[in-house]
Symmetry: C2
């Protein structure tokens, strides 16, 4: 079958289903989510067997260990997938929320109503749990979804897709509300991201290569994040204990996440007090330190191993036990460094100084700006969104962690009593 | 000079200026706006003379009457331009608004801060007043602007641009905060809409051809609206007087605006009562009526001239004294017609029926949905935004009339006391 025809068919069905979902009541959506969760729990063995087959094929194809790790499902992971759907069912329905109503001098009353975006295309790589998460978030926010998972997870994804369809059927919702691509033809992605008449937004989730390709070729708007080059700036007036605790956690809590600190900035006034303490912690945990000359000499004097950084280090998302460190005169230089070399994801200041905290919040141009807390908090669950479809470093539409609200739009509602324009 | 180099230079300067504007205080921005207004009032004669030269050249080039009309400035128009800037100065500053702060179980406090988008590129056609409006809206919302007006208005625009720069200087703000292109080379537009490193959003204002070209070729996100195919649906339970007043106003108040009704939908139950009354009003005002067979026979029976519509009429934005009319069984068919043939701009229902009004609001997928008022209210001033840069029919980011808030984004703010992720 022709890929273009196949994708157009999917698009048409998704658009039609999106109209039904937009007016579906909250009970029906929640019923579908709970039925999906039940089906996943019931079919856990079947799903795990499909996942073993995916893993065998991936190993035979020589795929790397990191990918195999993302692909692998455990019994606990399957239970977590079902729990995630139940948690989405428990969240308030964002669709139809009305706000900001006010009377205007003409006598009309004007406000906003939250509405679904329509059809959301999600393109992801190995992790099969994205199939359930994305289906759940799109459904709850009243959107139809077209999901394109990685070819290496095809068997796992099709089992999950069957559970999703079963849940939709159980609640009397159209099965085309969530469609999982049955082709792994790369041309299908090209169609998906250019079908502007059928798809309202694309969310790519995966490596930088995938996201760059999608951003470059898409004609449909994209909610994306590329790098997470996050900073912690330890100000001259920082509380030393907070600084050490935060800079340790931001780097070493998890190395591979996008909200992990990649560059530590330290004010000159406090560098000799804080760098040796932190350096010892990093050294114990095996974190390689790449430093500006000043930081390097402080660390070496304290007997802590470190090497010299190149400019490339300030622009690198390591996703690994490596940390770039720069000592700077103060706040102005820290803000300039972050705005120039950062990726506008999440940046933190540690300080007890009110005015500098306030300036940092206003002047650092990032999706999340943080005072006296770890960058690791930049996450939909920690922010109270209940779930997240991704973290956006764009400024248009959704910025930072994207939850149910980020998958909606607001329309204007005008209520009158026969008013006309004079 | 090479167009690419020229545009890159403008982009770099705009990006640098945007950082200054993002932290500029409200007083400085308002002072600049008022100084711009004063300079325009002072230079009114110079501006009118430049406009006469633009008009002479446009006439000599054989440009059409509609374009000459949009290009022409009057003394009153110049005063209105200055007033518009003063009104923008009087609006609340959206930048830095903080909202939704709440404590999370971890002890961090999470909320949002409103921030500028950065650099906004505006591409428009003949109307010189857009130069002042757009400069004012971008400045107040803390964004740098790159403005590309129509070549036919080049002399007028440069006089306005000089006043804008004078205002920025008077307030100590960088002149590069508002840059008006000095080239009319079409390649400059191609650069502007693809310089993703320097431009955060493009707002095209003008005819469909311009907007389609920009949408097709842009790599920078676009806030746009294409057609305004607006509907009024007169329900079976409509109040007849309200229906007549609204359907008259929505069509005949102004023919050339995007929120003008282009198609009238009438419930069968009320068609014989309402169509003859409305038909007589339209006939008196010289509005051509293009009708479905049922509407046609009702109108002809009442002796009102009308012709048969083709399917093309349901998809046409006339911007002229022409109206398409369809009689339908009821609400379901009206909603289906609007969602299929409309342009998701502004659609109204006239009814006294609570349940049908509520369904119309929820199920019509348009930027503005209206009960018992004219579609002509869909406008930034009428909605209380104070000003508007355009009306978006997109769902992503800004929908409907776009005012100062539509030119901003929100970042997340996290306030802690040393919290780390467990």
């Amino acid at each position: 079958m022709d890929v273009k025809d196949y994708m157009q068919g999917l698009g048409r069905a998704a658009r039609a289903a999106s109209r039904v979902l937009a007016r579906a009541d909250t009970n029906a959506k929640n019923e579908a989510l709970l039925a999906m969760a039940d089906a996943i729990v019931r079919d856990a063995d079947k799903l795990l067997a499909a996942n073993v087959a995916d893993l065998d094929a991936a190993r035979a194809a020589g795929l790397d260990a990191a990918l195999l790790d993302r692909l692998a499902l455990t019994a606990k992971g399957v239970a977590g997938m079902a729990d995630g759907l139940r948690q989405i069912a428990a969240l308030p329905d964002p669709v139809g929320e009305m706000s900001e109503f006010a009377y205007r001098p003409s006598g009309i009353q004007v406000g906003k109503m939250r509405v679904p975006l329509g059809v959301i295309g999600i393109i992801y790589e190995a992790r099969p749990n994205v199939t359930a998460d994305a289906a759940g978030l799109c459904l709850k926010s009243g959107n139809a979804a077209i999901l394109r998972g990685g070819s290496e997870a095809a068997r796992s994804n099709q089992v999950i897709a069957a559970c999703v369809r079963e849940g939709l059927r159980a609640a009397g919702l159209p099965e085309a509300a969530v469609q999982v691509l049955e082709t792994t033809d790369r041309a299908a992605v090209g169609e998906l991201i250019t079908m502007t008449e059928y798809v309202d937004v694309i969310v790519p989730r995966g490596g930088k290569g995938l996201i760059e390709r999608v951003s470059r070729e898409a004609r449909v708007p994209v909610i994306k994040h590329l790098d997470g080059i996050c900073h912690v700036y330890i100000d001259g007036d920082a509380d030393l204990d907070k600084a050490v605790r935060i800079a340790d956690n931001a780097k070493t809590h998890r190395y591979g996440t996008c909200n992990t600190m990649e560059t530590l900035l330290v004010a000159q006034a406090i560098a000799t007090s804080v760098l040796p303490r932190l350096g010892r912690i990093y050294a114990e945990k095996g974190v390689e330190l790449r430093c500006c000359p000043e930081s390097l000499s402080i660390l070496r004097e304290a007997g802590i191993p470190a090497i010299e950084a190149t400019e490339e280090d300030w622009r690198t998302e390591y996703l690994a036990p490596i940390l770039a460190i720069s000592t700077l005169p103060g706040l102005d230089e820290a803000i300039a460094h972050i705005n120039e070399f950062g990726s506008h994801h999440t940046d933190a200041i540690v300080t007890e100084n009110y005015t500098r905290a306030r300036r940092f919040l206003r002047e650092v141009d990032s999706a999340s700006v943080v005072v006296n807390a770890s960058t690791r908090f930049a996450d939909g669950f920690e922010y109270g969104l209940g779930a997240e479809i991704g973290i956006s470093t764009d400024k248009i539409h959704a910025r930072g962690p994207v939850g149910l609200h980020g998958l909606t739009s607001q329309k204007w509602v005008v209520l009158g009593d026969g008013q006309v324009r004079a």
